[in-house]
Amino acid sequence: MLKTFSKGGIHPPENKLTSSKNIKRLSAPKVVYVPIAQHIGIPAEIVVDRKDKVEIGQVIAKSGGFVSSNIHSPVAGTVTKLDMVIDSSGYKKQCIVIRTDAKNEANFQEVDYPLKKEITLEPAEIVKRISDFGIVGLGGATFPSHVKLNVKEDKKMDCLIINGVECEPYLTADHRLMLEKGEEIVVGIKILMKALHVNKAVIGIEDNKHDAVELFKRLTADEKEIQVAALQVKYPQGGEKQLISAILNREVPKNGLPMDVGVVVNNVGTVFAIYEAIQHNKPLIERVVTVTGKKLDNPSNFWVKIGTPIKDLIEEVGGMPEGTRKIINGGPMMGKAIKNTDVPVTKGTSGILIVNEDEACRGEVKNCIRCGECVNVCPMGLEPHLLMNLTEKGMYEKAAQEDIMTCIECGSCSYVCPSNRPLLDYIRFGKNITKNLASSKN
């Protein structure tokens, strides 16, 4: 029996259309739009001005605090504007617009670094470099990585978990990266182990990516300290708390962090970015993006420069198919629907999903028949029907007592509801109000 997490979970159709497609490197776009808030926490502060010339990898916005991150120029070119541009949230956000210098060859070189195994930096230097080079969690949450590595002295850590689960349907960015950059990822894992002073690491991969499981078993055959855990396919196993539960059978306490159970979790994409930063001095300026959808001519995986407009990616896979009704930034379970394809790729963009007519709209909302399926599938052991009800009635304090704040917004409840009830919509709303109530009290 393969391992999996302790509570709830669902099995949406996988639809991994692009799992056998090599990651193709896209050439630099003519113009990049780089938002200064690409991570959770404080937005970065712009340090360039209009008409400034910038090089690839140059810092263009500096970290605004501890929980923040530097932002680097993805191309060599000229800053044309500091403007407000709509990002995937649908709101206008501060953005640095850079015109790519078409004559600068550095923009179009395919850089393929040779594998470098030897780790020369000391732990503190590693953490500093990760912070300086703008590494954030690439699994989607975009939490600045150096924060996770700053372990307080009183916390004991014993395990590093590498998240190669990719439980979102359709997405294959992590899967392809694992297959193509396996050796580099193993070095990245060792870098993190050194930084964290732990001597155990486990790579969690769902068994639908059997080739990746086999590859990593082979690559780590001689490494006693690194294990590979093949996991049962179940959504939302990629959730940090769920993954720890699946691999170590430890539960992160309510309102706690993985640190509280001695664990740090990092996504495989992040690990690869860390490898490049530490071994090859490359800041985080590009990432793998899966562009997919059932009606697309040629769904693919791409290496994309941060700041590339999404419409460029859609062009690359054969253009927007007829009957497109929804464009999703991310996977179908947790991604954001966007209307505007000028939205740029950011550090958190793991995929673009194009949905056609028949799957885009929600069904008619009916009465709750109290089937309890939302309770069964909730990975946090919550009662979504109750939380929705309490939110509807404005009973936010009661909702807080019922642990509304521990919801991870995986959407399993809304997915299974036979009456199409917008459970997660209400819970999100309730969470926001509860959060505001709590902060206004302080």
């Binding site: 155990k200 708390k241 379970m333 007519e357 009465n367 709750c368 028949i369 309770v375 052991g381 521990t406």
Partner: protein
């Protein structure tokens, strides 16, 4: 712009194939085997009683929603159809037509719609209808047509007593189980449905088949039916092992009356049963205990309808008491 606009909505952007309607029709499908047995055993009567119950339930739902409540009419969601079918299953085949109509009105009008419609009712509508009829028309509601195979006429149905009725009456008049065992049908007959009783509770095998289908389709989980039957089996087993002359054995108890119909189809009604597995087990233990107590000490030979309705009333309490274990409440992990 020619093409339809791009849709924006919050995640998740996927939805499972499960719908309320599919769940309702799955239950209807699960009841088909038992209905076929009834058709075979009671003939035309079974057909008449069932059709009248279903038609009147649908009609009352339509009329009340359209003209009284002035809300959306929901007769196509399958729930009224199911209520009608279950009501028919819980009354004697060949019950006077007007009584069936009254029962349907009580089930749909009082037990379901007056609470706010599907999902808001506290009590199982079909059972409220049945118990209303049982209390108001005790004579007709206990006039059990006997299993007369291939009976195609309405008029000459032979009436008799149910297994539980025979035992209750026999024991009251000083009989012992040894004397009574000759009068009650064999276990095989009860399994197959060659016995007296409500329209749908005849054949244990057919009902179990339907129950199995519901479990495979994940409409119901094992928790309620298995716990109800287990509780009844253990309770009656204890009494029987102490005094086998005055208490029927567990096999008779489980195969007779509405035990299986109740456990698999009535107690598992989603709207009126608890949400969590823990809650379901408590709910089911309650049903099992109350059923056995009524069978042993109550005025009626069978008590599962009352037991389910009584436990229905406890569901909100059970729901607020037996909550799922929150993730993260486990004892602290040991860090090496």
């Amino acid at each position: 712009m020619d093409s339809p606009p791009i849709v924006i909505s919050a995640s998740p952007h996927l939805h499972s194939e499960r719908t309320s309607k599919k769940i309702m029709y799955d239950v209807v499908i699960a009841l088909v085997p038992a209905f076929l047995v009834s058709l075979y055993v009671f003939g035309f009567n079974a057909l008449i009683t069932t059709s009248i119950a279903i038609i009147s339930c649908l009609l009352f739902e339509y009329l009340i929603q359209k003209y009284l409540m002035k809300t959306e009419v929901t007769i196509t969601d399958g729930s009224a159809l199911l209520t009608g079918l279950l009501l028919a299953f819980n009354v004697p085949a060949g019950l006077p037509i007007w009584m069936i109509i009254v029962g349907s009105l009580v089930a749909i009008g009082i037990a379901k719609l007056s609470f706010g419609g599907l999902g808001f009712n506290v009590f199982n509508p079909a059972l409220v209808g049945r118990v209303f009829l049982l209390v108001c028309f005790p004579v007709q509601m206990t006039l059990w047509p006997m299993a007369v195979v291939n009976n195609t006429t309405i008029a000459d149905a032979v009436s008799g007593a149910t297994t539980l009725g025979i035992i209750k009456e026999g024991l009251q008049f000083g009989g012992t189980m040894t004397e009574l065992s000759a009068k009650i049908p064999s276990s095989i007959d009860m399994l197959l449905g060659i016995t007296g009783g409500s329209l749908g509770e005849m054949s244990a095998i057919a009902l179990l088949l339907g129950g199995l289908y519901l479990m495979i389709r994940k409409v119901i989980s094992w928790h309620i039916p298995v716990t109800v039957l287990l509780t009844m089996g253990i309770m009656t087993g204890i009494f029987w092992s102490i005094d086998p002359e005055h208490y029927a054995n567990p096999v008779i108890h489980l195969l007779s009356g509405g035990a299986i119909l109740g456990a698999f189809f009535m107690a598992t009604d989603m709207v009126t049963s608890p949400m969590t597995k823990k809650g379901m087990v408590i709910f089911a233990i309650g049903i099992g205990l109350i059923t056995v107590i009524i069978r042993f000490y109550g005025a009626y030979p069978e008590g599962i309808s009352f037991a389910i309705l009584i436990m229905n009333a406890f569901v909100p309490l059970i729901n607020s008491f037996f909550k799922p274990r929150r993730f993260g409440s486990k004892i602290k992990a040991k860090i090496m």
